[in-house]
């Protein structure tokens, strides 16, 4: 049960980023899974700790590149979505071609676990849980602060927000690159648990889009929306464990 809740937080983190991308980035980020994959591959190259830093930096940079492309080429949500899909495929393909593996890759790192309420939980899952917690706290603080108002404004009507001096473009940049870097980081945090191959990010993408879509039906604004995402994903993951 505990591991399910923890997993729920992981899903919430991803889905939240997807939702942010949609609300403020103004597109459905289909490259998200590939960023996760990218992170996992990075962790093959260097020590675990370094890979965490490296992946979050690289994730941010590639995300920024995507943002620039979108800024240059895209005129509406559809363009941006297509571009992100293109980016996703491109990342996977570049990884596939550069690594040229004849089998799934593994980081030789031992999987360690700790006991919480006599249930074994993997350390890496805990890291993710922490990351997600930090993310949520940060998000709540921003949303409840004055800059949160700007965020809501940008969500509801970006033209109007721009007219009232909210730097929407900067927000978009931060959201897109930031979420990319988070996805990348998640990838390398979880890498020891993964069988690493180019297509591994796909299911992550699908599930997080599913969840953000479901929670979007419930709606809500500002912090409410993102808490809704959290609740949905935790419920989702717990319910699944109960059913199956």
């Amino acid at each position: 049960m505990i591991s399910s809740i923890i997993y729920g937080f992981f899903l919430a983190l991803l889905s939240c980023c997807i939702t942010l991308n949609y609300r403020i980035g103004r597109f459905l980020n289909l490259s998200y899974g590939s960023f996760f994959t990218l992170g996992a591959y990075i962790s093959l190259l260097c020590k675990y700790e370094t890979s965490l830093i490296l992946s979050s930096v690289i994730g941010f940079l590639v995300g920024y590149l995507m943002y620039l492309t979108i800024l240059k080429f895209s005129e509406d949500i559809v363009d941006s979505t297509l571009i992100s899909l293109g980016f996703g495929i491109a990342i996977e393909e570049i990884l596939r071609i550069t690594f040229r593996a004849t089998h799934v890759l593994l980081t030789g790192i031992e999987v360690e676990y700790v006991e919480i309420l006599n249930e074994k939980v993997f350390v890496f899952d805990l890291y993710i849980f922490l990351l997600s917690l930090i993310f949520y706290i940060a998000l709540s603080i921003t949303l409840l602060s004055s800059s949160g108002l700007k965020l809501k404004f940008a969500e509801e009507d970006c033209e109007l927000a721009e007219m009232y001096g909210v730097d929407v473009e900067r927000l978009r940049m931060l959201v897109i690159s930031g979420s990319s870097s988070i996805a990348c980081l998640c990838g390398s945090i979880l890498s020891p648990m993964q069988a690493i191959h180019p297509a591994m990010g796909w299911s992550i993408l699908v599930i997080s889009i599913m969840i953000s879509a479901i929670s979007s039906v419930f709606g809500g604004i500002g912090i409410r929306r993102y808490l809704c995402v959290l609740i949905v994903s935790v419920v989702y993951s717990v319910v699944l464990e109960v059913i199956f």
Binding site: T69, F73, S74, E75, V78, D79, L82, I83, L85, G86, F87, G88, I89, A90, E92, E93, I94, I97, V206, I209, M210, A213, I214, S216, V217
Partner: protein, 297 residues
């Protein structure tokens, strides 16, 4: 003034009939001249997808509802054909019912919910297992259907494509098409002038789903085998990408499908290592392509 109108009609006729429809005819019939198996194969596949795109576009353009779930009528029809052919007609009806139910939500939510549904259908199609004389078939392996020869599938596809193309073109110009267009632009205003919005939405969805199902059937017969891939998100996204690469005219539904199929399938023959990269680049550049086509069509 009168002359003006006349010349305008003339040019519209030229634009409408000669150029676009000629292009269609060329695209459809050129492959016969090259007796090349793979070219014929690729163009048959493209035509099947063109059908799907047309069905999707009919809904998107005439009723204003953007669906991410046209893989459902497509796949359902294919699966039913494989499992219980007599029930194929259920596919369009069921999907119509589904779409109508979702259309109780607003148009933005419609997009999301249809996408979720696509994923649900796709994933559950893997669990579609039935017992036939002792051994369980289906699942990831899918089901076998009687398969047509390439030539037969080609002819079948041509017939379906041309007829549905003509059908939508005619319908668009008809009074029904006009009413649908009105409904698309503003449902309340449409009601104010006595258009029964639900009736026309229903009509639109039925037509769209039927064409999609037809393409699904054609697909199944063409491959002689259906697997969960017919429900895949790739299929669901296909019309969307195709039209946004090639523009939103009826003809560009066809052109877009050809472009996509050729880019994603044929390149795998020439540059197996990099064809997906090329695909990616096409996607990234698609806004430009799309605008270019937008001017054309």
């Amino acid at each position: 003034m009168r002359f003006n109108r006349f010349s305008c009609i003339l040019c519209s006729v030229r634009g409408d009939l000669l150029i676009r429809d000629l292009l269609l005819v060329i695209i459809v019939f050129a492959p016969i001249l090259t007796q090349n198996y793979s070219i014929l194969w690729i163009s048959t596949l493209s035509m099947i997808y063109s059908l799907l795109v047309i069905s999707w576009l009919f809904m998107e353009r005439q009723s204003g509802w953007t669906s991410f779930a046209h893989s459902i009528p497509f796949g359902l029809a294919a699966y039913l054909l494989a499992i219980y052919p007599y029930a194929v007609f259920i596919a369009p009806l069921a999907s119509t019912a589904l779409f109508l139910t979702i259309s109780k939500l607003d148009r933005v939510k419609f997009v999301f919910v249809t996408f979720v549904l696509t994923v649900v259908f796709w994933l559950s199609s893997f669990y579609m297992v039935i017992e036939r004389n002792g051994i369980s078939i289906g699942g990831e392996e899918g089901f076998s259907v009687l398969s047509l020869y390439l030539s037969e599938s080609y002819i079948f596809a041509v017939l379906l494509l041309i007829s549905s193309y003509v059908f939508v073109r005619v319908l668009e110009k008809s009074s029904i098409g006009l009413k649908m267009a009105a409904m698309r632009d503003d449902e309340e205003a449409a009601r104010a002038i006595g258009i029964n919005v639900f009736k026309y939405r229903f009509m639109n969805f039925v037509i769209s789903c039927s064409i999609a199902s037809l393409s699904g059937i054609c697909y199944a017969l063409f491959f002689g085998h259906v697997s969960p891939d017919v429900f895949s998100i790739e299929v669901a996204l296909f019309p969307f990408i195709a039209t946004f690469i090639a523009g939103r005219a009826w003809i560009s539904a066809v052109v877009g499908s050809y472009i996509l199929v050729i880019v994603s399938r044929v390149f795998s023959g020439f540059v197996p290592d990099f064809h997906l990269l090329i695909y990616a680049i096409v996607l990234i550049a698609s806004p430009k392509l799309r605008r270019w086509w937008g001017v054309k069509c």
